[in-house]
Amino acid sequence: MLRVDVTKQLGEFSLEASFTSEGRVTGLFGASGAGKSSLINMIAGLLRPDRGIVVLDDETLDDTAKGIHVPPHRRRIGYVFQDARLFPHLDVRQNLDYGRRMNRLADDPAQRSRVTDLLDIGGLLDRRPGQLSGGERQRVALGRALLSKPRLLLMDEPLGSLDEGRKVEILPYLVRLRDEGIPMVYVSHDAAELRQLATQIVMLRNGRVTALGGVKVLTTGSPA
């Protein structure tokens, strides 16, 4: 369960969002500039709320009233960025292994080969990020986040930087990932994408939550 109730002032823009999600895949839906990325960054701990709380599975990650702020590296929340952000000085294998090394987890070859099979990236292990296509990069980023064994996976428009053909290429992997059972928060401005993936929708507009509920709210409310 994820509970978020935060306010944040960012220049002219004010974000005031509150929602609770039990869903396996929470879709954060809204136009660009609605505050989706700020919200997801607060869940990750990269951005501190001015006021409010973030609670994941009974663990308080942020509580400004009590002065609690768990730093990102202690949250065990995976994050897949729109621009992949693979480490350019490491090859694919080292990128995939990075989270395990940082968290000092035991080597788990079975898990690694399961993830590389799931994402079809077994053939890319010796390459450098610069030698990958956009779609391949995004699949490696997914694998890297998964292998850090997060308890929640954040995805900020993971298909946003890809053209239509590539999106179709990645989408099936995301569906597979959802069926793996790791809870996800999936940010998108594309209703069609969310209809395929999300189990619950949080609709954002100008920094406010305008609708909450099942996937059907995508058809009743408009993001713009």
Partner: protein, 231 residues
């Protein structure tokens, strides 16, 4: 003509030792300072920045004299170090290394600072979401990505250190076998009758060392850039 005498060898080896030690000792401080200047805003930052660059614009003889006042046997820091830790800089090769380190410090810091400023901080965010504590982010992302700048700074600093003359001779004098580097040996030789041939050999050797350092830095930079662009 090309017979290098033992005295010249002594000066060459001393110069190399002084420059290598100066560069190696200065580098961690250079990285720390570059990081501070690149990443933080604090009170007195512009003063600190100016102080770091001071040896670049001050007459070297002034820097050398200030070092003598501070680190000389009766200097504030030098006296304390000699009494408590037994470290003596005055008229020792270690003093030459200190002078070279101070003189080359601005050249060492600048490329490191620029390369840290150029790092995409979003990669560091990605690293922290994967479980890396701040020091791990620094060690596994920031430092490797700044490597081209660090190597460039080290080579520049080394080149400056090996050519340093004014501050060194003011601070630790020109003692053969202890503080006489290639530069001060050349200076002595050209003031000696019949010293031209020996001076010429040392000039040639300093050109070879300088060229070698430049070629090495170019090679390192190219390699590191290739690594960073992920090909």
């Amino acid at each position: 003509m090309f017979e290098i005498t033992p005295a010249e060898w002594t000066a060459i080896l001393l110069s190399l030792r002084v420059a290598v030690i100066a560069t190696l000792v200065a580098t961690p401080f250079g990285i720390a300072l570059a990081w501070l200047l690149a990443r933080y805003d604090f009170w007195g930052k512009s003063i600190l920045d100016a102080a770091v660059h001071l040896p670049l614009v001050l007459p070297p003889v002034v820097t050398g004299y200030l070092l003598l006042l501070t680190f000389g046997k009766r200097g504030l820091v030098g006296g304390w170090l000699a009494d408590h830790l037994g470290i003596v800089f005055a008229f020792r090769w270690t003093g030459a290394a200190l002078a070279c380190g101070v003189m080359s410090f601005p050249l060492l810091v600048r490329p490191i600072r620029l390369s840290i400023e150029a790092i995409d901080r979003r990669l560091e965010q990605a690293s922290s979401t994967l479980g890396a504590a701040p020091w791990q982010v620094f060690a596994t992302v920031t430092l490797p990505l700044a490597l081209p700048g660090i190597l460039a700074g080290m080579v520049l600093g080394f080149a400056k250190a090996i050519g340093e003359f004014g501050a060194t001779i003011t601070f630790v004098s020109n003692i053969p076998g202890e503080t006489q580097t290639i530069s001060s040996a050349i200076y002595s030789l050209i003031q000696t009758p019949d010293g031209d041939a020996a001076a010429g050999r040392l000039v040639l050797i300093s050109i070879v060392i300088a060229m070698g350092a430049l070629i090495a830095s170019e090679w390192f930079a190219r390699r590191a850039t290739r690594r960073l662009h992920g090909n």
